[in-house]
Every structure is written in structure tokens, then in C-alpha cells.
């Protein structure tokens, strides 16, 4: 009995034949894929044909002009939006990775008085819904004169405001044997060196996961840029997409083309770092959003 079944481990539905398994998998895949395929198909249709009902599932003829029109749309500098998104995403992610790992090192590897207290404080900030932070942060940034700059979207992330990443990295650091740094118990500079030269280089998986989560959340962020910026010059891609829609009508072809252009970099990132990504979700149960 055990021998027979061992070929199918891990078992979820051991009695189902392979043909049915594939049929179910494909059905699920089709459901997941239809909206995506629809997005691609729409972006390749002749302008005007997107309003036809019943809709054409496969565009005839395939046209690429929507992509060109989307990026050269008058009054909506697509490349400027892209640049803003890139600047915010890179700067905020760099800050997140450096600060979170630095702080996590303190929490994970140094036994200082008050450590447990501060760690609980850090964890409790995870409970705060974003909307609760939103209003007081807005007022603070207003007082600082940072409204309608990119600073509110970057600077806080250099101060570890996303406690979740600190927590995540700290958990990882604690799995590294302590002897690695106790062998060189010296002054502060030595500790910084241990952090930089010993611990960081062997923490690739967790830093990879944090990087991906952070890139995704900043690239996709809508509410932050919506609240903290006003000028056209500071718009991000997520904000810019909104302006393909207007009272007079929506250019669905261009909107879908622009969406795909916005999706492309993170798709590339996802495929090149899928391993870290999935492992990150396994470590945490979150997908970073």
C-alpha cells in the first residue's frame, strides 16, 4: 500500500488521474490568464475596435501604434512619469534595505538593555493601518515643506518606517550562528564591519526578498503619490495611468499599452528573482504590498 502510494507524494488528491489533474490545472490557468490576455489583446487592437461587441478576442490586424501613442501622449510625459517612479523606487528601496538590515542587526545580535521593549514597540507599529498614519504624516510633511516634492515618498524609508522588513531581516539574522561575530568582539567600528563584511554577504535570500517586496510596493504605490504630490512633473506611473481616462471617454488601447509598459519591469524582476520572491512569502506569509 505504502509503496504504491509513495510515487504520488505529496498527496492532495491521490485518486485523481493525470488527465483530470491537467484539465483542472488548465482550467484554473485559463481563469487566471483571461484578464491578462485581454489586457495584451486590447493593447494590440486598432483604435476604435475596442468598442465592438461582441469583442474580438484576437486583434486583427495587430497594431503596435498604441504603445507609441501611449508614451507620446500630449500633456502626459510618460518618460517623466517613468523617471519619477524609478527614482522613488530605487531611492526608497536602497534606504529600506540598508536601514532595515542595520537596525535588524542591532536587534538580532547585540544584547543591550531595553532591546526587548523596543522590539515590541517595533512590532506593535505593524498593527497600525496606513490610513491612520496618513493624516498626521501629511500634516508633518506640510510643516516640513515637503508637500509636492518626492521627499515624503523616499526619506521615511531611510528611517526604517516599514517595521515589517526590520522584523523579517532580524528573524533571518538570528539564524546565523553568533560565534561569527563574537569571535571579533571589539569596538563599535568592528561591529559595523561585522555587519557589513560578515553578516550582509551571507544574507542574500532575505535581502533579496525585501528588495523585491519593496520595489513592488513603491512601484505600485498609488495613495502616497496621490496625497503628497500635485505637479504634473512629479507624477508617477501609477498616478499617470489615471489620465488616460477622462469624462469624454477612455483610450482603452493606450491605457492597456501603458499598463503593460508599467508592468514590464516588475515582470522582468519577478522572473529573474522568482526564487527569492517565493521564499520570501514562505518566510513571512506576506507578498509585500
Amino acid at each position: 500500500m505504502g509503496v504504491l502510494r509513495s510515487g504520488m507524494k505529496p498527496i492532495s488528491f491521490p485518486f485523481v488521474s493525470n488527465a483530470i489533474r491537467y484539465a483542472l490545472l488548465i482550467l484554473g490557468g485559463v481563469i487566471c490568464f483571461i484578464p491578462l490576455g485581454w489586457m495584451v489583446s486590447t493593447s494590440l487592437k486598432m483604435p476604435g475596435t475596442e468598442f465592438i461587441f461582441p469583442p474580438e478576442l484576437i486583434p486583427r490586424p495587430v497594431v503596435w501604434s498604441n504603445y507609441i501613442d501611449a508614451v507620446t501622449r500630449p500633456g502626459h510625459p510618460f518618460f517623466l512619469y517613468t523617471r519619477n517612479s524609478v527614482v522613488i523606487t530605487l531611492a526608497a528601496t536602497l534606504g529600506t534595505v540598508l536601514t532595515s538590515s542595520f537596525v535588524a542587526f542591532g536587534f538580532a545580535r547585540i544584547r543591550f538593555r531595553g532591546r526587548d521593549f523596543w522590539f515590541i514597540v517595533l512590532l506593535s507599529t505593524l498593527m497600525l493601518p496606513d490610513v491612520v498614519r496618513l493624516i498626521p504624516s501629511f500634516i508633518l510633511f506640510k510643516l516640513l515643506g515637503w508637500i509636492d516634492t518626492l521627499l515624503p515618498l523616499i526619506v521615511p524609508f531611510w528611517f526604517g518606517v516599514n517595521a515589517f522588513y526590520v522584523f523579517l531581516i532580524r528573524q533571518y539574522f538570528r539564524t546565523i550562528p553568533l560565534e561569527l561575530d563574537e569571535a571579533a568582539l571589539m569596538d563599535g567600528a568592528a561591529y559595523v564591519r561585522i555587519y557589513w563584511q560578515v553578516i550582509l554577504p551571507i544574507s542574500g535570500p532575505v535581502l533579496g526578498a525585501v528588495t523585491i517586496f519593496s520595489v513592488l510596493s513603491h512601484w505600485n504605490d498609488f495613495l502616497g503619490p496621490l496625497i503628497y504630490t500635485n505637479s504634473v512633473d512629479l507624477r508617477t506611473l501609477a498616478l499617470g495611468l489615471r489620465f488616460f481616462m477622462s469624462r469624454t471617454g477612455t483610450d482603452w488601447n493606450q491605457l492597456m499599452a501603458a499598463s503593460i509598459l508599467m508592468l514590464a519591469p516588475i515582470l522582468a524582476l519577478f522572473f529573474s528573482m522568482q526564487r527569492y520572491f517565493i521564499r520570501g512569502i514562505h518566510m513571512t506569509g506576506f507578498g509585500g504590498r
Binding site: L25, G106, R133, M256
Partner: protein, 339 residues
């Protein structure tokens, strides 16, 4: 502890100096003990110096977060408590108005509507998400060739930017030329107005969210892979069929993950904003006026920051209470192996 070391110490002294007299022996023993204690305290002084160095180092490392916490979290939060009791039209400084905001909230029809909408969306949507994610995870847990391709495909919608996803679904749900009505028409069902129908607006948004359950799905998949196959073997020997195995082996083993996904799902579902802000603007007839959209409008469109601050606190407490209740209830149905 004391008795332990006094006796052998006494024995040594006895042998060396005070063969018969017990009184000086005790005296000498006390003296030596004092010396030992002093040495210990010197050591602890040395220890406290290392400890002090550790403290300094520790705080040096956590300083960036500590500063950020005070400036970007704690400070503003305290400010928010105060603001909740003020009238603050942003353009002029806040003026204290006591419980006026609370009074306004109690009588605010839209406060109740937005709470109801959010509750509807959450308590119908999140269980649906959990079930759907579990179903997909079960499919992906089947041992067949090429299953990894499907894992990627199923996860793909989740990384699509929220804004792009909202636009895509607006187009799919379009009453005149959308894909959703086309699919219905294939089955002979008349077209719907979806997001623009007061009855269907919230269910449409729930369908939209179902498409992006990838994170929950991956969590379940990890859990399913962790269920020891010996349990299934044992159940099979006992004559359990497919569904009995699922019901009595799989589900109990993954209850911690169901619980986790429910808690996280509810917290994030309470905060739905982008879809309602872009696609429906709270309509039709306020059926998608969700709580965060309601707060946003007061804070940033009507410039009633004081009132909005109170509303933000209320949401915080609602989420807190729900999370606590869920943790309490978890004892009844979540199974932890370690216990």
C-alpha cells in the same frame, strides 16, 4: 547555593589551619566569603562596563529606526489624538472643539454607510478569497510534470500594479463592450451593469480581488507541502476517500494558515481604497463608499482634518478589536501541532 560552597570551603580550612576549633573556622570562612563576594562585584563592574558598551552599540544600530519611529510614527500619532478633538481646515491652524467631531460622526449617515460597505466587502470577500486561494493551492500541489509553470501563471495576476488591475477590470466589466458581458452572453445570460449597478458594485469588486489571491495561495501551498504524507497513508488505510482525507487531514493541518490568511486578509480588506477611488468614486449611490475613501474625502477633499483624524482612530480601533476577537476565537478551531 550558600550551603553548598560553605561546607567544602570549611573542610579545606579545617584541614589546613584550624584542626579542632570551630569558631575561628567560621570566622575565617566568612572573611574568605567576603573576599570572594568582592571579587564577584568587581567582575560585575567589569561586566556592567561591557554591558554599557553593548547598550551604546545597540542603540547606535537601532538609532535610524528609533529616530524614524519618534518623528514619523509616535509624534504624528500623538498629534492625531489631539487633532481628533479639533476643527482643522488645513489652511488655518487647528482649534479645539471638544467632542464635536464625535457628535458629528454619530449623526453622520455616510459614516454608517461606509462602515456597512466595508463590512460587506470584507466579510463576503475575504472568506471567498481564502476558499479560492485554497482551491488553487490544492491544484498546484498536485504532483504532475510542469506544475511549476502553472504556479507562476497562477501567481502572475498578483504582481500587476493595483491601478493597472483596476483599469483592466473596469474595461472587462464595461456594460456596453466588456468581456464579462460577452462571457455571460455565451451562456445566454443578459448583460449586467457590474460596477455601475448598485446591487452588483460590491460583488464586482470582490470578483476583482479574487483574481489577485496569489499571496494567500502561496502561503497555502507551502502549508500543503508541509503535511506529512504518512497522515494521508494512514487515513487511506482507514478507508478515507478523497474528500474525507481533505476534511480530516488537510484542513486540520492547515488551520493555522487559514487563520493567518483570514487575519491578514481582513486587515487589508478593511483598507480598500484604490479600486473605489478610481473605478466607482464611491458610487453608484454610495454603494462603494468604503471607509478609507470616506476618510480620504474628509481629509483631503473637504479639508476636515480634525474629523478625519477621529475617523482614522475609529478604524484603527475597529481593526484592533477584530484582530483580538479573531485571536480569541482561534483557540476554538486552530490546531497547532506543538500544543
Amino acid at each position: 547555593m550558600e550551603a553548598e560552597w560553605r561546607l567544602p570551603l570549611g573542610t579545606v580550612l579545617h584541614g589546613r589551619h584550624f584542626a579542632k576549633n570551630s569558631a575561628p573556622r567560621r570566622f575565617e570562612a566568612t572573611k574568605i566569603r567576603n573576599i570572594l563576594l568582592r571579587m564577584a562585584s568587581i567582575q560585575s563592574m567589569l561586566g556592567s562596563r561591557t554591558q554599557l558598551r553593548r547598550d551604546i552599540l545597540g542603540y547606535m544600530f537601532i538609532a535610524p529606526w528609533l529616530v524614524g519611529f519618534i518623528v514619523f510614527t509616535a509624534g504624528p500619532m500623538i498629534g492625531l489624538v489631539y487633532l481628533a478633538f479639533t476643527r482643522y481646515p488645513v489652511l488655518s491652524p487647528p482649534t479645539f472643539n471638544g467632542l464635536d467631531n464625535l457628535e458629528r460622526m454619530v449623526g453622520d449617515r455616510f459614516f454608517t454607510i461606509s462602515l456597512w460597505n466595508t463590512a460587506y466587502f470584507t466579510f463576503l470577500g475575504v472568506p471567498a478569497q481564502v476558499v479560492w486561494a485554497l482551491m488553487l493551492a490544492l491544484l498546484l500541489n498536485m504532483r504532475v510534470h510542469g506544475v511549476n509553470v502553472f504556479r507562476t501563471l497562477y501567481y502572475l495576476p498578483t504582481i500587476i500594479p493595483g491601478v493597472a488591475s483596476v483599469f483592466l477590470w473596469m474595461y472587462i466589466f464595461n456594460p456596453d463592450y466588456g468581456l464579462a458581458n460577452y462571457i455571460l452572453s455565451l451562456f445566454g445570460i443578459p448583460g449586467q451593469a457590474w460596477l455601475w449597478d448598485p446591487e452588483l458594485s460590491k460583488p464586482s469588486l470582490i470578483i476583482m480581488e479574487l483574481w489577485r489571491v496569489g499571496t494567500m495561495m502561496v502561503v497555502f501551498l507551502a502549508g500543503l507541502q508541509g503535511v506529512p504524507s504518512s497522515l494521508y497513508d494512514a487515513a487511506a488505510i482507514d478507508g478515507a476517500g478523497m474528500f474525507a482525507q481533505f476534511r480530516h487531514v488537510t484542513v486540520p493541518m492547515i488551520t493555522p494558515l487559514i487563520f493567518f490568511n483570514l487575519v491578514v486578509g481582513i486587515i487589508s480588506s478593511f483598507q480598500i481604497f484604490t479600486a473605489a477611488y478610481i473605478a466607482t468614486q464611491g458610487g453608484p449611490v454610495h454603494t462603494t463608499l468604503f471607509y478609507v475613501l470616506f476618510v480620504y474625502r474628509h481629509a483631503f477633499e473637504n479639508l476636515r482634518m480634525g474629523y478625519a483624524s477621529l475617523l482614522a482612530w475609529v478604524l484603527f480601533f475597529i481593526i484592533l478589536v477584530f484582530t483580538i476577537v479573531q485571536f480569541r476565537m482561534a483557540r476554538l478551531w486552530v490546531f497547532y501541532e506543538v500544543e
